[in-house]
Assembly symmetry: C2
Homo-oligomer: 376 residues x 2
C-alpha cells in the first residue's frame, strides 16, 4: 500500500550547506533523510568499514571512499586491468571478508573482458590502512561464458555464516536459455569458498556436466541479495522482463524458473511463456507487475528502528521508491511504499553498522543518503 | 502494486442509455465494467438466485431484486419487525441455503432492537416464486449483548461445506474488550447449524462460561468472508482502527487478537496497544496501514477469468478500489490495485454463478456493476 507519506518539513542541516535533511512521516517511524555524500557517479554498492568510512563502487569502474566529511576525491587504486565499463557492467557489488579487521580483504564483483566479449568476475584485494589502494588483488572466480553485450551481469556479493560467499549472476540479456543450462554460470547464483575454490557441499558438485560453483539457477538478473539476520535464509530479488520482477528465498540446487516460467512479458509485448508456474520451478515469494526494477535489498536488524526489526527493504530504479515489507514465517504480510515523493531511482539499500539505513541513488546527481529516526 | 490501469475507452452500451461500459486494461486481464443496476441505496450484500436474478440487501432495511431489466421497484416484503436501521446497521449480509433450489431459504443478518439497544441477528425465510415476499421468517440467532450505538455489526454470512453457517460479528465500537470475552458474542465469528442450533463440534461447546456458538474471537468488525473454493479454508478481513485492517485465515477456537494486539492506532492518534503480535494471538495474513476500510471478499473460481483462478478480491470503501491478491500456499505473493481511476467506494464483491465478478458501490449513486472479460 502507498503510505500517507508526507514531506512534513525541509530542515536546513547544520553541518553542510548542500545537505538538506528531509523529514518523512511513515507508517511506523518518522525519520530524516540526510545527504551523506554528493558527487558520486552511478554508485552501485556499499561496504561499511569498521573505522567508520563507507566504500562505494561506481559502475564506470571506480572505488570511492566516503568519510564523515563527504566523498574523498581520490579514488582507491588497484582495480583489475581487465575491468571493463560497458552499459550495465563495470565495478559492481562490494563485500568485506568476515575477518576484515584482521585481513582487510575487500571482495568485489566486476565486468571483465571487452565490450564485445565480457563476463562477471569476483575478485578480492587488501585495502591499505589509509584507504588509498587495493593490494594483492586477485580474481578468484569468472563466469565461464563470454557474452557479446553489456547487459544482465548480476553482481551482488554476500558472505554466508559458514564463511562461504555468494555471487549473483545474470542471463546476459541475450542468453536467457542458458539460465536453465548447468554447464555454464549464466543465470545462476554461485557459492564459493573465500579463496574461490568450490565448497564440497555445493548442490551440483557430483552432477556430471554441471559447474560445481552453482548454488541455484533459473535466474534472470539478481540485483538484490541479503541474509536474514535471524534465520540465516538467503533472500534475493531479480528483474523480470516487462513485469515479473521477483523476490525469492534461495535454497541450494533449486530452479527459479527463468525463462521457463515467469510472470513477465517480452518488451515487444509477447509473453515470454504461457507458464507462470510449473513442477520443478520455485514460485516467487513476491512478484511485481508492472516492473519496478528492484535494486538493493536489506533485511533490517538494528537498534535505531526497532519497529522495522526483521522487515525487508527493497530499492527500486524505475519504481523510484523504497519498499518495506513486513514478513511473518517467511510470508509477506504488508507492503509500504516509502520515499515516493522524492523520485529517486534507488540502486542500493543497506543497513549500516550504526543501525541506520543507507541508500545510493542513481539520478542526475547521485547521492549517498541516510535514514535516521526522529525520536518524538 | 498500483497497476498501469487505463480507462482505455468509454463505450456506449447497446442495451441501456444509462449503462456505459468502461474498458479496463489490467495486469492479467482486460475487462469491461458494466452497470447492471442503478437506483440502489446503500446496498450491502448480494445473493445470486438460480433463476438468474440477484437479491440485494439495502442497509436501511430493504431487500431488492435485480433482474436483467435492472432494479425491480417493489421491495421484497416480510423482513422481521425488530429490524432497526441505525448508522452502520440495518439489513446486512445475504446467503442462500445450499439446498435453496428445493427449500428456497434465504439467510440474512440484520441489526435488531432499537437505536439505543441493538444487536446483530441472523434470520431465514422462504422467498416465494415471484420474488415478492419472504415467508415463514424466523430469527435463528441473536448476539447476547445489546449495544448502545450503531457501530460494528459484522454481518457477513456464509455456508460451509458441512452445511453449517458462519456469521461474522463486530465489537460494537464501544465494547472492544468484549472481543476477548467468550461469555458473549461481541467481536467473534459464530458457527451454527442451518436451524440456528449449536454444532456439537464447535470449539467452545465444552468450555465453561463460553458461548457455544463461538468459532473464533478477538475480531473488531469482519465485513468480508469467503470460503476458498479449492481448499475450503475460511478467509475473512476486518476493519482496524486507524490502520491495522487485516486479512485472516480463520481456524476454530483461535484468538485473532483485537484489541490486545493490532497494527492499528486509535482515532485520537494514541496506539491501541504497544503489541502488534503476541503468544496466543494469530498474526494477520495481510494487513493494511493506513486503513482502506475493506468490505466484501471473494476468492475467484470461474471460467470467465482463468488468469484469476484462486485470486482473492477485496473491495475497499475508504480506499475506493478493488484489490486483487495472488496467493500461493496460503501466502500473498502479489498485489494489484484495480478500478483506482473510478473512485467507487466498494461495499461488496462477489463471484457470480456465471463466473463474472459483481460489485456493489457505496456512492452518491449506488450501483451494481459487473466485470466481464474482453476476449482479444
Amino acid at each position: 500500500m502507498r503510505t500517507g507519506l508526507a514531506l512534513a518539513a525541509i530542515l536546513m542541516s547544520s553541518t553542510a550547506a548542500l545537505a538538506q535533511d528531509v523529514l518523512v512521516e511513515s507508517e511506523q517511524a518518522d525519520f530524516t533523510i540526510e545527504t551523506v555524500a554528493t558527487g558520486l557517479e552511478f554508485p552501485w554498492s556499499m561496504a561499511f568499514l569498521p573505522s567508520g568510512e563507507v566504500l562505494v563502487s561506481e559502475r564506470d569502474g571506480r572505488l570511492r571512499v566516503v568519510t564523515e566529511a563527504g566523498l574523498r576525491e581520490a579514488e582507491v587504486t588497484g582495480l583489475p586491468d581487465d575491468l571493463v565499463s560497458v552499459r550495465q557492467g563495470g565495478l559492481l557489488g562490494l563485500e568485506l571478508h568476515p575477518q576484515f579487521e584482521s585481513n582487510r580483504l575487500v571482495y568485489f564483483a566486476y565486468a571483465a573482458g571487452t565490450e564485445s566479449a565480457n563476463h562477471t568476475a569476483l575478485a578480492r584485494g587488501r585495502i591499505n590502512e589509509d584507504l588509498t589502494a587495493l593490494e594483492n588483488v586477485e580474481t578468484i572466480f569468472r563466469v565461464n561464458f563470454d557474452k557479446e553485450r553489456g547487459f544482465h551481469f548480476g553482481g551482488r556479493v554476500h558472505f554466508l555464516g559458514d564463511g562461504t560467499v555468494l555471487l549473483s549472476l545474470g542471463d546476459g540479456g541475450m542468453h536467457r536459455n542458458e539460465s536453465q543450462n548447468l554447464d555454464n554460470h549464466i543465470g545462476t547464483m554461485v557459492r564459493l569458498n573465500d579463496d574461490g575454490s568450490v565448497p564440497f557441499d555445493n548442490p551440483f558438485v557430483s552432477t556430471r556436466g554441471a559447474q560445481p560453483e552453482i548454488y541455484s539457477y533459473g535466474h534472470r538478473n539478481v540485483q538484490g541479495l541479503d541474509i536474514h539476520p535471524e534465520t540465516g535464509e538467503i533472500w534475493t530479488h531479480e528483474h523480470g522482463a516487462r513485469g515479473g520482477d521477483e523476490i525469492n528465498r534461495i535454497e541450494p540446487g533449486l530452479n527459479y524458473g527463468w525463462p521457463q516460467v515467469t510472470y513477465g512479458i517480452n518488451y515487444d509485448g509477447t509473453p515470454v511463456t504461457d507458464a507462470t508456474e510449473g513442477e520443478g520451478y520455485e514460485e516467487p515469494n513476491w512478484y511485481w507487475t508492472p516492473s519496478i526494477a528492484p535494486s538493493g535489498l536489506t533485511i533490517y536488524e538494528g537498534d535505531a528502528f526497532p519497529q522495522w526489526q526483521g522487515d525487508m527493504f527493497v530499492g527500486a530504479l524505475a519504481g523510484a521508491m523504497l519498499l518495506r515489507y513486513e514478513m511473518h514465517n517467511g510470508a509477506f504480510i504488508s507492503e509500504e511504499e516509502l520515499l515516493t515523493d522524492l523520485g529517486h531511482r534507488i540502486r542500493d539499500v543497506q543497513t549500516g553498522p550504526d543501525g541506520l539505513i543507507y541508500i545510493l541513488t542513481d539520478d542526475a546527481e547521485d547521492r549517498l543518503l541516510r535514514l535516521t529516526p526522529v525520536i518524538n
